[in-house]
């Protein structure tokens, strides 16, 4: 399909640009680390408590990091008005969104996967046995964050106080992702871990609903 092939070309550019400078990834990873360390001062991380509070703190760190990481997503395109060039080159603006969402999901996932062993070591918990489940949870959660975050990045790029506005708009909208992904992750970290499929379904539903909304309304977001 033309839409997917154009999105793939755009995604290639996003990934190439980021891996050339690595500035976004490196600052995001360090930020998550800082948040995890700072949060760990707020409770005594025994193994039981780590299992109860750890996933929540981890997902909060990811959410905060994402709300900063998503800022440059469309701001970058304003520098040389490359967004106009993209809009001229693609007939369906959804291709631009698909590419940005895929790139953001990828970068978020990379950050999460790099943080996972660090978190496991700092809090003496093990993920190894439940890695597929963890990966699925991280993927669906990151996708949800990216879909909504990318759309809101367009809105905040056109407003004042955009550095504060994006997290402000993003975090309440992502309440379902935070709540559900934390629960699913807690279940996977228990001594007798199990996969909470209803939660997975809720996250997948969230992702599908907002992707559809973006598909329907995305062109208006990019309109001048």
């Amino acid at each position: 399909m033309a839409l997917l092939s154009k999105a793939a070309v755009l995604l290639g550019k996003e990934v190439r640009t980021e891996f050339r400078s690595r500035e976004l990834l490196s600052t995001t990873i360090v930020f998550v680390l800082v948040v995890v360390v700072v949060f760990s001062f707020t409770f005594d991380p025994t193994t039981n408590e780590s299992r109860r509070f750890g996933p929540g703190l981890l997902w909060m760190a990811f959410l905060f990091a994402a709300s900063l990481m998503l800022q440059p997503c469309f701001l970058r395109e304003q520098v040389n008005d490359t967004l106009s060039a993209l809009r001229l080159a693609v007939s369906d603006p959804f291709a631009i969104f698909l590419a940005k969402i895929s790139a953001n999901t990828l970068f978020l996932l990379l950050t999460e996967l790099l943080m996972l062993p660090v978190f496991a070591a700092l809090f003496n918990v093990s993920f190894a046995a439940q890695l597929p489940g963890i990966l699925l949870t991280f993927f669906l959660g990151s996708l949800g964050i990216s879909v909504v975050g990318t759309a809101l990045a367009v809105i905040s790029a056109q407003a004042r106080m955009r550095e504060l506005l994006l997290p402000l708009l993003l975090l309440p909208l992502l309440t379902p992702i935070l709540v559900v992904s934390t629960e699913v992750t807690i279940r996977l970290m228990q001594p007798e871990p199990y996969m909470e499929w209803k939660g997975i379904g809720l996250m997948a539903g969230f992702d599908v609903v907002f992707l559809t909304v973006l598909w329907l309304f995305g062109e208006y977001l990019l309109e001048e």
Partner: protein, 231 residues
Amino acid sequence: MPAAPVRSIGLQFDQVDKRYGAVYALRNLTLSIAAGECMAIAGRNGSGKTTLLRVAAQLVRPTRGSISFCGGTGHPKPQIGFVGHSTMVYDELTAAENLIFFAKLQGVAEAKTWADELLREVGLEDRKDSLVRTFSRGMRQRVAIARALLAQPSLLLFDEPATGLDAESNAWLTEHVRKLRDTRCTILMSLHGESPMARLATRAVRLEGGSVIADTQRGAMFQSIFAAAGC
């Protein structure tokens, strides 16, 4: 220059308004541009030249009225090349990477070969693997023009393309626009004052307050259109 003949298109502005709050960037603009025409647009700063071009490129949605295209391949979205105030290329990619990226995006066959040829055409063959960030203003403008020509557009839009260019780059640009005009590509270019580039135009209009106030097609004198623009 492109091997295949360019299928030029005409466009029609029909009572177009573009309002930002209470300010009218374009006001009741009605303009017919024939296929293959090379039109110069003159006017002071804030007269609506940039908005007119961006509406023609379908980057800006009019508040009222519509624009339509005629001729060309019949595709609802014609191939449009746009050279604006900004370069519309990525500083963190090389000239070649930029062109290959945009070529692939627009579905151009043999993107790499075509990008190399265009870079040779605009005189940047030696610098094709340098980051655009390291280019001078004149060189960036050449990359921008190469980018605009990638998909062999039916309509070319230039928004004050000579801004910030030295005499040599200006001469190069004028020559290029002449070649494009001779391929019967429809060209709209907004210009500050009379210049060799302006003299390439087959028609000139002057904008003020978002409306056309003089048109050589309706008897206005070419010199008066640019003289009155007062830039």
